[in-house]
């Protein structure tokens, strides 16, 4: 697996920050916006110039979404010990919502008299970012697609990869997502009045909204046959997945978390598990009033009195939109590998609607199965279950 986020440029750095309780939330520095003093974001440290140089792209050749995507995908490929990406039926499935919007908004009016920036015109296609990552990886004559279901995009990419391997359509799937910060999303969430002006506090009574973030994260899923053939070390298993639609409102979650509950139930069913088999929940937990209430209620409906230890890691990274499911998949696997639950930062006051307390300190606990939620606009609800052992 591979990741780049506001709390680190690779898996090891992300893990070190999670363990140290070191958040990546700050004032925005790389985008000029009039909202810069009113919002906090999870920004990746490296500037485009630094990332371009690291990857061998020319100046202003591609969107930041592509740059961070390539960095995370490169790490995932290297971490999985893949020497020839075309030696098995390999697919790339990436989630994104922003795509090349960072460049589209910058050059929207400039395209007409500045030929030197026209390489970004086709970048407005969300799928263009995935195409460029596939080219960077040298993937040829392969299944390459893009999923855009708002903030559950990369969770759905992981789900599709798992389903395709299970159906025998692929031997290997590189799955995850990438989204950079843009004026488009900053202003969009601003109009929805769900951006916090301070550090986001998931599941806290006083929560004021989310911090936007940028990140890319990919995992390499491989079939049993390929793992055996190449004698690979397995980091974890995708044992359960479920997608459901809340069918309630275009942007808000239903009051009682119907879609979230359905997605979690479906995931347990595909995994052949009971709710009691889940040892830790990495919640969607955006810190918006609506999400945390709806998700909390769904957790209570599923687990009853025995809601397992849970936390949202978004106070570390910000809400990285389409990439969030991939980021949190990496964190879920890290949790399994290290038998460690990562803290839900900035939590002090329980919500008045229910008695749910997230984990606020780094906590050691033997973990077998981790459930990860990702919800998005359009009522899209997705749940993944990661396990230490094959079910």
């Amino acid at each position: 697996m591979g990741i780049i986020s506001a709390i680190g440029n690779n898996v090891a750095e992300n893990y070190a920050s999670l363990i140290a309780g070191k958040r990546g939330i700050s004032r925005i520095s790389q985008i000029e916006t009039i909202h810069k003093d009113e919002i906090m974001v999870g920004e990746i440290t490296g500037t485009n110039a630094v990332l371009e140089k690291q990857l061998g792209f020319t100046e202003n050749e591609v969107s930041r979404t592509v740059l961070i995507g390539c960095i995370a995908a490169d790490e995932a490929i290297s971490n999985a010990g893949i020497l020839d990406i075309n030696n098995a039926r390999t697919g790339l499935i990436s989630g994104t919502t922003v795509g090349g919007m960072d460049k589209s908004e910058q050059y929207f009016y400039d395209y007409f008299d500045r030929p030197e920036v026209r390489q970004h015109i086709t970048g407005l296609h969300a799928g263009d970012s995935t195409k460029k990552i596939a080219t960077h990886l040298g993937l040829e004559e392969s299944f390459v697609t893009t999923i855009s279901t708002a903030c559950s995009s990369s969770a759905n990419a992981i789900m599709l990869g798992a389903r395709m391997i299970k159906s025998g359509k692929l031997d290997r799937a590189i799955v995850g997502g990438t989204d950079c910060l843009s004026k488009f999303t900053i202003n969009g969430f601003k109009t929805l009045l769900i951006l916090s002006d301070t550090y986001s506090a998931p599941f806290d009574e006083e929560r004021k909204g989310l911090n936007l973030g940028e990140a890319a994260a990919y995992l390499v899923l491989e079939s049993d046959a390929l793992v055996q053939k190449e004698n690979k070390k397995v980091l974890g298993y995708v044992t359960g997945y479920g997608n459901a639609n809340d069918a309630y409102h275009q942007t808000a979650s239903s009051e009682h978390g119907d879609g979230a509950l359905l997605a979690m139930e479906k995931a347990l069913k595909t995994a052949g598990m009971q709710a009691s088999d889940i040892d830790y929940v990495n919640a969607h937990g955006t810190a918006t009033p609506n999400n945390d209430l709806s998700e909390g209620r769904a957790l209570i409906r599923l687990f009853g009195e025995k809601v397992p230890e849970f936390s949202s890691t978004k106070a570390f990274t910000g809400h990285t939109l389409a990439a969030a499911g991939g980021v949190e998949a990496v964190y879920s696997v890290l949790a399994l590998q290290n038998d460690t639950i990562f803290p839900n930062l900035n939590y002090t006051t329980p919500m008045k609607e229910f008695a749910l307390d997230p984990i606020t300190e780094v906590t050691k606990k033997p973990l077998r199965n981790v459930l990860s939620n990702s919800f998005g606009f359009g009522g899209n609800c997705s749940t993944l279950i990661f396990s230490k052992d094959k079910s």
């Binding site: 596939a134 299944f143 389903r163 004026k183 069918a247 275009q250």
Partner: protein, 355 residues
Amino acid sequence: MPVYINSIGSVSAQKTFDNSLFLEEIVRYNDTVLEIIAPNYKDYIPPAAARRMAKGIKMSTVSAKTAMIEAGMEEDEIDAIIVGTGLGCIGDSEKFVSDILDNDEQFLTPTRFIQSSHNTVAGQIALGMGCKGHNFTYVHSAISFESAVMDAKMQLENEEAKNILVGGVDELVDHHVNTHRLIGHIKQEPVETMSVLTSGTKGAVFSEGAHFFTLSNEKRSSCYSELLAVETFNTLAEDQVAAKTKSFLSENGMGPDAIDVIILGYNGDVEFDGYYDTLATALFKDTAQVYYKHLSGEFDTASGFGFWLGNKLLKQQRIPDAVRLNSVPANSAQNALIYNQYRGENHSLTLLRKC
């Protein structure tokens, strides 16, 4: 578990929204961009709701409704909604960007932003039908629609669903057209509909449309075809197209001679039509050949029109003159193969059998 296409719905630059017609009359253009022929939206959508809807949502609603009615499908029978779209409701995205720029990030309202989310169409259809099932949106250029079809097929085969609504939609907007003119992806000179193929110029005639289908693992009386296979390739060299097509067919226990009709995505772009020639002039030179983008125009989910055409001609056992590339007859056509690519990338092969 077999996968059947039980019904179809289309809104395109031709008068395809009425399923009782089959290209008997062709609307001929002489242009570089084509808009859809709009149905009377009032017949499908309450006017108050229609006013708030983006064009892509309106087209999709009509097309989806047409397919649902034709199959006699009740809303609560749909287990999943899967949509492919290159750009989603791009009109709202572009408007939101220009509002940000023109007003220096002030006085913005959320509606544009909300509708600009790529999964707005799939989400709105689910909301309208109260469908809580699997809801995916694929956004990968020319294989957006095929990704959706592939996902649906996998779910039906694995018995994860019984009935799925699958669609492809894209809308045409000014800024997108103007910028794509700058980079030569749209033809410089207008071209007459029946001369698109022989234009000899670079670029394509851009358009828009919405194509929805119900896919089920049980055949209904309205059935059009059985979906045998669909596969996509991110890259494919021109000289590899024939070999890939052969191996795709052999994986499905067929040779090229089993194909009765081949549907090719020719769009009249002199730079990239050669990919189709490799099939038309060799492997399938004695097969009935059809094309359609001169009628539908080119857009990310234009292959949805090709899929519509394949289904229509298998069911009606008739090839309209306007889509014929050659005069080879297709008597009692059983199998149709659809090949599409855009600018040499994102290739797809789809195999249908008469049901």
